[in-house]
Symmetry: D2
Subunit: 396 residues, 4 copies
């Protein structure tokens, strides 16, 4: 088929040309004397994306799932009590992993379309004066339902009780795209991956840990080697890795971090919000609903859109892909067939979003959803136009 | 700025990923023994795009302008009488070149927005029983105004008089995108470039000549060397070039020709027509007019859209570029400030066109043109949806 | 510094241009309907490199170390008795991992420069009629010392006793480069990585398992999720992955497998042997010794060369890198400072090897080793010349 | 065949990775408002490579041959008398072009292996008090024979007679690699191409002209359009081009100019001399002769090596290519079959040269030339080792 394919899933995201260029390279010697001159600044600069000033970020050749596992293996032990909540496929998978690793999981089941139940967490923590709960888990952005949770609120709940539990946050689809403040929110362990806000191919899992977490890691009882903090710290401190790192992705990461710094995190968050608002205005114009139950849950990186009764959302996604070369996200697990998702994170701009909305419109109508052609795009056009700013021309 | 830039000028066009991959390569030895195994099939296969069965195609490291010049230098002599017509910036530049090369040019001035005046050509040929006219020039697709001309009609006019003049056609922005039949239409000399329907970077000029033209080349009196047919033929026949060829582009051309063959020329023409119709339906929904004066002149590769009185079309183009990262074409020469252009040729699909239309809508409204947001995209969405076909899934 | 850098470490190896081109691509949708049409043949074709007909190959976004860990987590349980041998840094690390995972390891310590002690293994197996030994580990190619071991011999030792222990083989730096026959040698678990014989960037760990191993995986007691066979099988069987796969590397793998198939495994083994022989003839001409104690241990993928007393091999490696832009391998652990290594695996040819030898000569002399300039390269030149074959020209 | 191909022809040369990365990009809008911010500094910076302070450099989408033609078309008229010399294939082709363009050429025939006959030029100029000679042509580096000429000497000859003839220099294979000083040597017109010292793919012709030449261009009588100075100046002054430029190569040129500036022209010249000396020491060790008749003619960018009687040099080149994946240069015209050439210009370092020499050794011996294996490489190894400097490590 002719023309570019269009990628609007909530990750992998579109890769900036500069990153793509940087990854077009021959292999290199990861034990070279000048390798640390490349890696040490990289280890430092990636911390800024997490706003992690005092801890450190581990870069694993893995996925976000790998980074989740690294967190559990290094910081917890079988039998540890943890507090989690489930309201989508990814919070579900996290619970599942915790159970497989022998943790005693207190799962708060929430309606899909809502997020971390801060009040209930607060109650549970209040009810735990003996501090049996070793860790509290919060999914910052549930990618399956397009729901963003209040991490600062979870922190407050912990602080209110002076509860020493570690705070684990899944920021896979939020970090680098949505406001995230590891240090300020007292997050001990933030998980992300290369293929979302970092605008890289999949292949790296990031785990950003606090000093408190680093101290806790010495006490954990899980077998570990590949994900071992100790091994990684020992090698990283010299600018190296305990095994062959994915240098191609690290070279891409260098450029990605430079792009993030150049645009500025706050500007990136604002851009994501503006893009997301364009999508939400389109959904509104289509007279459809988001899976997210209230504006406070609205995610700026992904929108899960509920299709009318009798329509199979999977068919919409298939149509968009096969007829219009556009990848949208399917509904997963409980919302399979009921929602489709538009990912709007990473290297995106207005015209790309309008293209995604046009593809969605075509697929929706093709599948029998009655919307007015152009209504969604028109709403976005008007939003983007009004909120856009003509950049000041750079001098030659 | 974030996100991809959007290229909707009438060339250079968007490059297929496969072509881009193929051009990502080290340099090679253009005198290697196995170089002809690469070039000879290439020389053969490029002829199919021109539907030139019996002649040959010269590939110059130049631009379309260079190929124009190659045609004049090799086929005509100072003082030769030629028949031309002018109805846009590119037909104008061609006339200018002919005059610079000492040809005696009979220029038929036509309204911009119309094309080759077949009737007038017919009269002129009828009035030339002595065959003083050595060549008739026709711009197949005037890129400045979005006008396609009737080349078969010009052939008929020549045939009606059994006139032996050579037929020169500027197919820079038509060949590979719009129906073109060199052999059937008796075209002696067809000019194109790499950066339009061939979906390559700029840097190659193509000149496809008939056997009649090849014979005529021996009699031309212009000084020539770089563009010399004789040198090129001698070297090409062995699979080589008279000077270092642009091998990177030739490797891209190999893939581009393969993509063209895989899609099929007739399918490509149909796709371009379908894309163009989407744009025209949007223009109609915006209640604006094309520069092309009548449907018979409508170009399937570029639409020049007239802006209302009092609006500066250049401002629209600047806004689209600076605020929405989208390149549209400016108005040139007589239509400067009056039209803006959407290029819709090459490696394009529905969603890309919808993106271009959304960018145009935003820029139009920003610049004071009263159109309904989403109206143009909506018309295109409906057109593409209704005319699109779900491809049959390929087996694994 | 000018000119290309030269990579002659035993991995990462040099990447074929075709693979590099294939990895220069935008991101893609790993849940697309046509993704299995890409992955299912890939899963099948990679098995051929292992000569694994009846089992399956797991592709992890990790490193070889990750694949090691996957093997232990899925196939063994804490407290299991295993038989291992140590004769280099990588066999050492494997032992270390096994101990960390709670296995009861019977380590046979061998002289560095020798390999798997088949006779001792045979004795140990003979002395285990109760079959307490659950797995036997063999490092096929010890990358630190340039030693290749006799895996068929280990198989024979097991067979002689009809011992049911699983056979684990570390083939990270052998598979795809040195004769390897998983099915014939009854290997239950073969570990490799993308950055060696597979000629890809680092970032994928491969684990090729037998049907016997797949059955055993159900009984293993380790916590696991990221490396879980069950999850991977379930997703892979449909052409998908349990988490976002590293599609960029998978696209490269596709081309790499095609290149391997085109050259032919036996031809690749022969080429590696011929390259290695060139290096060994150079070492001989330099009047230096290999770390490998006897020809039967000679590795065709890496040569560890012993430097004379009083010379620091690390200085040679630093000189080659900093002064001659050439990466050689340092000595690790027990042989640190005593050997330097030339990696000669992957996408290599005669002239590349001669370049590596010239770099080594320059660095050796610079560091005070008395060798005759050109002696090593000359020996290789004569070897390559005599054993080389002029390929039959392909027709155009 | 496996492994990288090795390119040691005197152009195209090896492309730096940074340049290759920069050319891996989507197409762009050559009429964009910010295009001049890219081109104007480029136009300025390229002048430094020519050491042309007061004139300007034209960048044509063509080849060096095109730039030759641009010089003739814009600066001379049919019937103009010019002084040229012929001592190799490229000086021969230049004479041929001059004759085709109707110039009255006084050709000094020189022995191949020598260069511009400064003394004879001086006599001819002395014998032309009426200044009938409009231009003097000098091939700075004759690529066919590996001969560098004394351009400063030609300038002195002109100055001695206060002769106003324009000085045209073919610097295709010297500029950016061998000492070249346009302003100081009073060169009016210097020709080069992208694929030599500029380390880019073929596709751009460079013509660097003095203010005197720019003035002369108004008086030239040749028909011109594609190569017209006037059109180019008019467009370039605003940061644009008169027709679609080869933006992909321009983006590569930007990086290439940055690399040249970073290394420093004098360092680049020294590096080329050092590389060339390594080759010459190898030739000496082989007991073969250069085509260049005396050290003063030795070229630092290409060595033409005479093979013994009875040996066909073309067979050596074919063997190197087909058996060892190494491109060497064939003998052209008068020296066909008698010499083979090693190009040693552009992005090169010691180990690359040693690889080329090893390939040459293998091919020479295969073809019956009696040289000692390793002798040439050994001489180069010793030369490079002794003259090399360990770079000071950069801080992280």
């Amino acid at each position: 088929m002719a023309g570019f394919t269009h990628l609007f899933i909530p990750g992998p995201t579109n890769i900036p040309e500069q990153v793509r260029q940087a990854m077009n390279l021959p292999m290199e010697d990861m034990r070279a004397p000048d390798f640390p001159a490349f890696t040490l600044p990289l280890f430092n600069d990636i911390k800024r994306v997490f706003k992690n000033d005092t801890g450190r970020v581990f870069i694993y050749p893995s996925s976000g799932t790998g980074a989740w596992e690294a967190a559990m293996e290094n910081l917890l032990s079988p039998g540890d009590h943890v507090l989690m909540s489930r309201f989508g496929q990814f919070s579900h998978l996290w619970v599942d992993m915790a159970e497989r690793f022998g943790l005693v999981v207190d799962v708060v089941e929430c309606e899909w379309g809502t997020g971390v139940p801060v009040e209930i967490y607060a109650e549970k923590l209040r009810a735990d004066p003996q501090h049996r709960i070793k860790a509290v888990f919060a999914t910052h952005n549930e990618t399956a339902t397009g729901v963003t949770s209040d991490i600062a609120g979870v922190r407050s709940a912990l602080d209110a009780e002076k509860h020493p539990a570690l705070l684990f946050v899944d920021g896979v689809s939020s970090i680098g795209s949505i406001d995230f403040r590891q240090e300020e929110w007292g997050i001990d362990c933030a998980v992300s991956g290369s293929q979302k806000g970092f605008m890289l191919p999949a292949g790296l899992g990031f785990l950003s840990v606090s000093t408190k977490a680093l101290e806790a890691s010495g006490r954990a009882k899980h077998h570990r080697c590949f994900f071992s903090f100790e091994d990684m710290i020992k090698a990283n401190d010299g600018g190296y890795f305990p095994y062959t790192p994915a240098t191609q992705l690290l070279r891409g990461l260098r450029v990605s971090l430079d792009l993030i710094a150049a645009e500025g995190l706050e500007n990136i968050f604002a851009r994501h919000h503006r893009m997301a608002e364009g999508v939400r205005k389109a959904v509104n114009a289509w007279e459809l609903n988001l899976c997210a139950k209230a504006p406070k849950w609205h995610s700026d990186t992904v929108s899960a859109i509920v299709v009318p009764e009798g329509i199979d959302s999977a068919q919409i996604v298939r149509t968009a892909y096969s007829k219009y070369q556009t990848s949208l996200g399917v509904g997963l697990n409980k919302v399979a067939g009921k929602v489709f998702r538009i990912g709007h994170l990473g290297w995106l701009n207005e015209v790309m979003i309008c293209g995604a909305l046009a593809a969605a419109e075509m697929a929706l109508i093709d599948c029998g959803v009655r919307i007015k052609p152009g209504s969604g795009v028109g709403a976005a056009v008007e939003h983007f136009r009004q909120t856009g700013v003509l950049p000041v021309a750079k001098a030659a």
